[in-house]
Symmetry: C2
Amino acid sequence: MELHEPELRDVPVTAVLAALADDVRLQIVQALAEGGEHACGTFEFGVSKATRSHHLKVLREAGLTRTRVAGTSRFVRLRREELDRHYPGLLDAVLTGPARPA
Amino acid sequence: MELHEPELRDVPVTAVLAALADDVRLQIVQALAEGGEHACGTFEFGVSKATRSHHLKVLREAGLTRTRVAGTSRFVRLRREELDRHYPGLLDAVLTGPARPA
DNA sequence: ACCTATGTTCGACAATCGTCAAACAAGCTC
DNA sequence: GAGCTTGTTTGACGATTGTCGAACATAGGT
């Protein structure tokens, strides 16, 4: 299954930023920032499950999330501590940003 | 000439992140972070001047830079204070990031 | 007036991206 | 095992992106 989850050290900054530079993915990250694990299916933005799966893959391969497989479900969580260590202030800046513009 | 320079409040976070999520542009921002104004021509990365002009436009329209026209030259500077106010920690996190991977 | 220097704009191109429906894989339950 | 649930993978598509050379615009210098 592989579940490719790179070390943050091996991910170019631009890849992390690119992963965050999408509306759907940013909403996912904001939901994950509430803490704990979220099953993939609990993300209900206006996209198909194929698209959602794609975005979760992008986040995972950019080193932003960690995924745990449990039966047919997958539980995703934000790699907050690692991210804060590698890019102090990045997540806070992005998450507590100005009132989300339309 | 117009020199479209939006208010940071009007720029979606994702646009700021997208602007930073490119190798050439990140190098430009890193150069600008040294402080002061830089003439466009002083950026010598391996791209044509058309491409450089394009990247500077992206940065400007994402609210990251301010441009002053002087004769045939244009001087660019980072909107650091504004950025730090709107996204505290973002620039620092991106600029002082881990040793730039190849 | 010419020529040069500095940038921008205009196509054009290949590559990447976000999106979806459909097919697939794997586990759970009856 | 049949069927359902959860999620991924596979094409396909239109849109966007990064890149370039060529043409254009504008300001100085001689």
